[in-house]
Structure formats: C-alpha cells, structure tokens
C-alpha cells in the first residue's frame, strides 16, 4: 500500500540576481495516514519553502527543479498546473504560523470556515453554516454560534489558531501541513492547540506534517522526525530513537541547546557560527564548519543519508560520515568542558 504522501528528492531553487539559492536540496519524506511527522531545523533551513512546494504555493521566483511528490502513490509533479493544484488542494490543507495574518481581517471567521464547504463542496448556505459551527466545535471553540460572527482581531491568539485549524479542516483534507502552528502562542495555549491537532489526527486518520524549530513541540506530537539543515534532511528516524540517540552532530547540538531546568548550573549552549549561505555552499558537509567533531574528510564531500541503526519500528538515517563515533560524543545530560570551544557556551 502506498503512503498518503511521499516526497522523493525534492529540490527547490530560487534564482536571484547574484546566483541560485538552493533552498531545498533533495528532500525525501513519507507520511502515512494517521501519522504525525515532525520537521525540525533552524530558520532558513528550508522548512517553510519545502512545505509551500508541497502545496504548489512557492513564492516568486522559486521553482521546483527536481524530485517528485506522490499523493496516494499518484505522481502529482508532472500534472498540468490546474490539475495538480486541484489534486493537492483537495487532499492537503495548511495551518499557518501567525493566525492573525492567516485570517482575512475583513471577513467574519465563521464565513471564512464556511467558504470552502459553500463554494467548493457545493453545500447550501445553511448546510455550510452548520458545517462551520460543527468544525469550530470540533477544534474546541466555546460558543461557536456566537463566535461565528466575530472578526479575527476580536479573538485571542489561541482561538484564532483554532479557527485556522478549522479552516484547514473545512476542505476535508487527508493531510495537514502545519507550519510552526504554535510558535506565536504561549506555552499553555501551545499545548491545547497541539492537543487539538493530535486528537483530530487520531479521530480522522489525518496525516500531519508538523514543522517547527521547537524540539519539545515536535517530540510531544510526532512519531517520526526529520531534521533539516541547509535545505536537506541530515537525520531522520523514530522520534524517541532520534532524540535519545542522535547520530548527526547537528541534531546532537540542537538537543544540547535545549535548556535543561534540572541542571545544577544553568548554561545555555548554542551552536556557534551561522547556517551556510545557500547560494554558495561549501564543498563537503554543510555543517562541517560549525561541527565540533568535523575531520578533514568532512570537508571533501557532502555525506549521503545512510541507515545507521534500526531501533524499533523506523530506520534511523544520518548524513554524517562520523555517525559511528556518536557513542563517544559527550553526553548531553552532563555538558563537559571538552566540547566547549566548538559547541561554545554563552553564559
């Protein structure tokens, strides 16, 4: 049986005046129905561009230059633009980061939810209204009848994000792409919104792609994780295996930089340096210049994604030449002095 969404070797370039920016470089991923996967990476790692490529909503002048997107095993990349757009929008919905800008400021929120049922699914006015109220109820909005008539700026951030999810659900999708859906919310509301997404995933067998830079958010919700760096996947695998035994120094460094409230001495570890310039990538591993464990071999060729361990159900892949030394990396629960110069500590 084919997966709900399969992406093979997707590459997106953005032609700029001073060269081509390789925003996404050969990303492959897979989502099954009812499964939540997480995509982690820092700003500029290509997460958002990849999501927008999946929906065919790339900003000008970005182009998909290679790879394929398969929906239920059906290739959509080769379809003519109109049919591809129809196929994608029918099956896939998106939840955006900033719920204030993701809602039309001059339209009542209920009308925005009822719009697709009314105008694309061909429901009557009353049926679409009822559907919108039902959706608002299902994402945990109290008094949906009354809130139907509210404008976006009259609702709180958490309520707005629920509206955003209700709009995403209104197309009756099988896959939801969520781009940093909780970043603009405070922590208690984050948990509620994640809970809503997770419940819906379970109830309706929705596929969920959760993009975030927040490992805590991802680890709460997702069963598999893809770590992106400089436009490619550098490590992927089952959530617990990957977080417990990272086999790529970038994942390792990300985990290091999560503040540990139990640590006796609170030190915030950061990854030194900047992500590479995607218009002029260095030869070799793009993380090598920032990596604490890089050797000369790392600067020679970009390492391929290779299976490293099979822990439990999902194979763990890492794009690191030196993944097998991971066992000797300083444990992240006890930051030692040795890694300080490279995985530097800033007070």
């Amino acid at each position: 049986m084919s997966a709900l969404l399969e992406v093979h070797d997707l590459s997106v370039d953005i032609p700029l005046r001073h060269g081509r920016l390789h925003a996404v470089r050969g990303v492959s991923l897979r989502v099954e129905a009812g499964e939540a996967i997480g995509v982690v990476g820092e700003s500029g790692s290509g997460k958002t561009i990849m999501l927008r490529a999946l929906l065919g909503l790339l900003p000008q002048p970005a182009r998909i230059i290679g790879g394929s997107i398969l929906l239920d095993g059906v290739e959509v990349t080769g379809m003519p633009a109109g049919r591809r757009h129809a196929a994608l929008t029918e099956a896939v919905s998106m939840v955006f980061q900033d719920s204030l800008t993701a809602l039309n400021p001059v339209m009542r929120v209920g009308e925005q939810i009822a719009e697709v049922p009314r105008h694309r699914l061909g429901m009557s006015r009353t049926a679409a209204h009822a559907r919108a109220v039902e959706l608002m109820d299902s994402v945990g909005i109290p008094e949906p009848e009354r809130r139907y008539r509210a404008y976006p700026h009259e609702l709180s951030g958490g309520m707005r994000q629920r509206i955003g999810i209700a709009i995403a659900l209104s197309t009756q999708p099988r896959l939801i792409l969520a781009d940093e859906p909780t970043t603009a919310l405070d922590v208690t509301i984050q948990a509620q919104v994640l809970d809503v997404l997770d419940t819906l995933r379970g109830e309706q067998q929705l596929g969920l792609v959760l993009v975030s830079h927040d490992l805590a958010v991802i680890s709460q919700t997702c069963s598999r994780i893809y770590v992106m760096y400089a436009g490619r996947v550098v490590e992927s695998g089952g959530a617990w295996a990957l977080l417990g035994h990272p086999r790529h120094p970038y994942t390792y460094a990300l985990l290091q930089s999560v503040p540990d409230p139990d640590a006796p001495v609170h030190r915030l570890l950061t990854i030194p340096g900047q992500p590479p310039d995607l218009t002029a990538l260095p030869t070799g591993c793009p993380f090598a210049p920032r990596c604490a464990f890089a050797k000369t071999a790392c600067t020679q060729e970009d390492p391929p994604l290779v299976p490293v361990t099979v822990t439990g159900e999902a194979a763990q892949l890492s794009a690191c030449l030196r993944w097998d030394t991971a066992a000797h990396w300083p444990q992240w629960s006890e930051p030692s002095e040795t890694d300080e110069p490279k995985l530097g500590a800033t007070s």
């Binding site: 927008r52 929906l55 909503l57 900003p59 000008q60 757009h85 129809a86 929008t89 029918e90 896939v92 919905s93 998106m94 955006f96 980061q97 900033d98 800008t101 993701a102 809602l103 039309n104 400021p105 001059v106 339209m107 719009e115 697709v116 105008h119 694309r120 945990g140 109290p142 008094e143 509210a150 700026h153 009259e154 609702l155 709180s156 951030g157 958490g158 309520m159 955003g164 709009i167 995403a168 209104s170 197309t171 405070d186 208690t188 509301i189 509620q192």
Partner: protein
C-alpha cells in the same frame, strides 16, 4: 485577552476587544460639509427663484448684497447665487461620475495585474507608464479637444487618463496582500480564483483606492473647471464653476467677486473631500 479553555468547561476572559469609539472629527466634519454642498445643489430651486441662465442686461454686474441678488449679478445680469448653485449640480455630478469609471476600471486592472503577474502585468503596466508619461491636464485637454467639448467627452477623457492611478495603487496593494498568509490560505484551500480576488483581496486593498478617489474627485472637479475655463468644458450657457471663473476674470479689477466666489466654492468642496479622505484613513486604516 486570552481565553483559557479547560476540557468541557470554559473560563473566558474578555475575548472581544472593545471597538474604540472615539469621535472621528475629520470624517464627520467633511461629510457634514459635503452634505451641505450637495443639499444646496439639490435644493437650488428652493434657495433662489432666479433662473441661472436668465439674462437681465439692465442689472448687469451688480455688487453682492444688492436687492434681490445676494451675491450680485454677472456681466449679463445673471444671478451669481443661482449660477453657483446650479453649477454645483453639474460639477459635482460630473466630478463623481468621472471618478467612478476610472475607479472601477483601474481597480479591476490593478487587481488582475498584481495577482496574475507575468506578461499580463507587464502589458498593463507598460500602458500605465505611457499614460503617466504625459502630464494629467495636458492629456485630458488634448483628449477633450480631440473628442469635442461636452460632458461625455469629459467623462471619456478623464476615464482614459484617470484609471492609471487606481491601477498602480491597487496593484501595489495586491502585491503586498497576495503574499500575506490569508491569501496563501485561500489559495491552499482551492477556492476559485475570482472568489479569492473579490472576496479576499479586494476588500483588503480597496480602501487605499477609495481614499485616493476622494482627492481624485477634487482633481476631477478642478479639471472640469479648467476645461470650462479653456472653453472645452460644459457648453454655455449651462452654469458651471469653471466657466463662471473664466467669465469673471476679465472683471477681476472691478468686480473681483465674479471670479472669486466660484473659486471659493471649489476650495470648500475640495476641503470637504480632503477631510473625508483623512477621516476614512483614520477610521479604517491599519488596525
């Protein structure tokens, strides 16, 4: 400001922000002033018993305040007040109508141009560039001259020149709005393009065009007045402020009020519209 929802139970903390209800002075003042002008124009027959084109050469060029003529009479003995009031009917009507069609055409083309981009955008924008390359008045005067004097040529000429401003304003706003997440969300939900354009984008970009249209009405009235002054406007003897100023200017040294009174009328109308534009921005501008 947050609503905290516990499972099954809701503790609600004022979610609806109270709409700020402060008094919008410019808008109210502008609307009142414009309403007064429009009322005066509509009620012209009630406010004066003079026929605006009735000549009385025996009582020509009488000073304001002379018996029966509150604002005096012009060089042909026509009552200035009644000409002013009936002139307002013509000038306001032409001004509003001559702004309406460029508004609609420019907004639609700007919407399409900004949304679709590509060759269509290039084509429309090149046409805009060509029109903009000529000074507004020069082009309007040349067009009216070519089309022949009269109100219909004025409409046509001002439409042909005026739409470019709306097109540029709306296109710029669309370019910003279409990268907003709500526009992406509308595209992602697979709504038909016309619906995204008219239901989602138009209401968000049209305000800037409306605000501009207020000052555009002033500009248009000014253009009509100018055309009237050049003898290309509303044909005589129909009263309009432009031809009144033109007729009056030769008596500027002796009967200065003949040209000044209609001039003041233009200024007051422009002031009212400018106030409305300011008030609209204050009312609906960025939240």
């Amino acid at each position: 400001m947050t609503a905290v929802a516990f499972p099954g139970r809701t503790v609600e903390v004022a979610t609806a922000r109270r709409p700020h209800r402060h008094v919008n002075i410019p808008l109210i003042a502008g609307l009142t002033l414009l309403l007064l002008i429009v009322l005066a124009a509509i009620c012209a027959p009630l406010l004066t018993h003079w026929d605006p084109i009735h000549q009385d050469l025996l009582h020509a060029r009488e000073a304001p305040g002379s018996p029966g003529h509150l604002l005096g009479t012009d060089q042909l003995g026509r009552d200035v007040l009644s000409r002013l009031l009936y002139g307002a009917r013509i000038d306001l009507r032409v001004g509003v109508l001559a702004v309406l069609s460029p508004f609609v055409i420019g907004t639609l083309l700007g919407l399409v141009s900004g949304w679709f981009g590509g060759w269509l955008d290039t084509l429309i924008m090149r046409i805009v560039d060509v029109v903009v390359a000529f000074p507004f008045f020069v082009l309007v005067i040349a067009l009216v001259f070519a089309l022949g004097a009269g109100t219909s040529s004025i409409y046509l000429a001002i439409t042909m020149v005026g739409w470019v401003a709306y097109c540029r304003i709306v296109r710029g706003a669309v370019l910003v709005a279409k990268e907003q997440e709500y526009a992406l969300a509308a595209r992602a939900s697979g709504l038909p393009t016309w619906r995204i354009l008219f239901r989602h984008l138009l209401p968000n970009v049209v305000l800037q065009a409306i605000v501009y249209s207020m000052s555009d009405i002033v500009l248009t009235i000014l253009a009509i007045v100018t055309l009237g002054y050049l003898g290309l406007g509303v044909p005589p003897p129909t009263p309009d402020w432009g031809s009144m100023i033109e007729d009056g200017q030769q008596f500027l040294l002796t009967q200065w009020y003949l040209a000044t009174i209609p001039g003041i009328a233009v200024v007051i109308t422009g002031f009212a519209l400018a106030l409305i534009a300011d008030g609209l921005v204050e009312q609906f501008g960025r939240r």
